[in-house]
């Protein structure tokens, strides 16, 4: 059991999400930075389908009832177990009754805490992910919550460290143009890539909202709602782009100018930070 003492700004349970239900209006959800969540699972010897905790700006404080192997990935945070410092991106032991504290990340936004066996809250539609848009899945972490640990495990992990490149100060996101590039003025892609955009404070798991040069529209009529994908750069009438993340709506009514290749990097940008776009190679 994991007993939550302090939840931090936003903590949720996440796994690979709900696949194959989008035609029923159920979005995929799941870890926003999927490779980071997958790495956390690998470091403790879990299958990729095991659920982990996704922390936004760290700030978690928990007590472990039984001893367990754990690992933190994604945005690197200071981690202590009963006051002793342990590293991120490497597995560590938490003994029975010990308290684990995750501080705030120096860079990046979302960190992933995996425990060997996985977080075993009750699945909803075959996934343990919290979808903040639709309200499916377990509620966000709150003090007093007790999370069971499951038996979703493989052999003991072979790696004891996964060196990570430092997260860039101004990440560059590659945009593959389309599907609705022709709804924008001819220079819209150039405008998008010319200067960095600033990440807005109302960004969340649904999308990264950006402020900067407005993207000029050519077609002014209303777009009938159509399905959107993770990484889609949707442009509402304000002209300020939104990059969709894991909890994006299944369909959207504003044109998508392009789709970002590096969704995990987009999931790590924090409010106030700058991001740059470039046109992706086809």
């Amino acid at each position: 059991m994991i007993e939550v003492l302090t939840a931090g700004p936003l903590g949720t349970v996440q796994d690979l999400g709900r696949e194959g239900l989008a035609h029923l209006g159920v979005g995929r959800s799941g870890a926003a930075d999927r490779p980071a969540a997958a790495l956390a699972n690998r470091l403790v010897g879990n299958p990729g389908s095991a659920a982990v905790l996704e922390l936004t700006l760290g700030g978690l404080h928990v007590r472990l009832e039984r001893g367990v192997l754990a690992a933190l990935t994604g945005a690197p945070c200071p981690v202590t177990v009963s006051g002793r410092a342990v590293g991120s991106h490497a597995p560590f032991w938490v003994h029975a009754g010990e308290q684990l504290r995750v501080g705030a990340p120096v860079r990046g936004l979302r960190s992933y805490l995996a425990v060997r066996g996985g977080v075993a809250v009750e699945p909803v539609l075959r996934s343990r992910s919290t979808d903040l848009l639709s309200g499916l899945g377990p509620p966000p972490l709150a003090p007093g919550m007790v999370l069971p640990i499951g038996e979703d495990r493989l052999d003991w992990p072979a790696a004891d460290l996964a060196p990570q490149a430092e997260l860039p100060e101004v990440p560059t996101l590659s945009v593959l143009p389309g599907p609705r590039l022709d709804w924008f003025a001819a220079d819209a892609l150039r405008v998008l890539c010319a200067r960095p955009y600033v990440v807005s404070g109302d960004s969340n798991r649904i999308g990264v909202r950006l402020t900067g040069a407005a993207l000029p529209r050519l077609v002014e009529r209303q777009l009938p709602s159509e399905a959107v994908v993770s990484g889609a750069v949707q442009v509402p009438p304000s002209g300020q782009p939104i990059v969709f993340l894991a909890d994006h709506p299944v369909t959207g009514g504003y044109p998508v100018i392009g789709v970002v290749d590096e969704v995990p990097a987009a999931a790590q940008v924090r409010p106030g930070q700058q991001v740059r776009f470039r046109v992706a190679k086809p």
Partner: protein, 202 residues
């Protein structure tokens, strides 16, 4: 048919009418091209998600074009009958907007033969196509914060049943006791795209 790139794992197929969306959806579900992951219909488009390790965009586009001629809407395999109490909070307003009496609004809604065109807005929220043009009404100018599950509603060309309690701006004409959304089932709703729907008086 226009086939548009939508990232590296999806193609957005744009057609002229909902009929063609449903036809292509049925055709691809029946006879999926290699590497097909998921299909998401909307009113004029079908998103085709694929595994780029198994099929490339150009090859997928060829597969999609090859099916264009063969697409036809198959007769719906199932019909869902929804019993409704026509006592919705906006029934009087809908009557006023349409110039019909409340009884005529109800009669026309009951006479319709509907089909789930696509789902969106919220999990299990199916847009039902086939609404009598006389019943096309705008959304409410101020959406409601809370609409109870089972509310039967109208907006634009569509009618729908709110599957769960949620906010919303549609005009409420009635309510069903039928549970259309159940998380204990997989899939959680019977309102899948293409399903025929008929309303009867509760």
């Amino acid at each position: 048919m226009r086939i548009l790139r939508c990232g590296r794992r999806a193609a957005l197929v744009e057609v002229d009418a909902l009929e063609q969306v449903l036809g292509l959806h049925a055709c691809l579900s029946e006879d999926p091209p290699p590497g097909l992951v998921q299909l998401i219909p909307a009113s004029r488009t079908l998103l085709v998600e694929y595994d780029p390790g198994r099929i490339g965009f150009d090859q997928l586009a060829t597969e999609l074009r090859g099916r264009e001629a063969g697409t036809q809407v198959l007769a719906a395999e199932r019909e869902l009958v929804v019993p409704v109490s026509y006592d919705g909070a906006d029934l009087a307003e809908v009557a006023e907007l349409t110039g019909l009496t409340e009884d005529e609004v109800v009669a026309r809604h009951l006479a319709g033969r509907y089909r789930v065109a696509f789902c969106g807005f919220a999990p299990g929220f199916g847009y039902l196509d086939g609404l009598d043009p006389a019943l096309h009404v705008p959304r409410r100018s101020t959406p409601r914060v809370r609409i109870p599950a089972g509310s039967v509603a109208l907006a634009g060309d569509y009618t729908a049943v709110y599957p769960r309690e949620s906010p919303g701006g549609w005009q409420l004409i009635g309510r069903t006791e039928l549970e259309l959304w159940d998380l204990a089932n997989y899939p959680p709703t019977a309102l899948t795209p293409g399903t025929a729907v008929r309303f009867v008086r509760a």
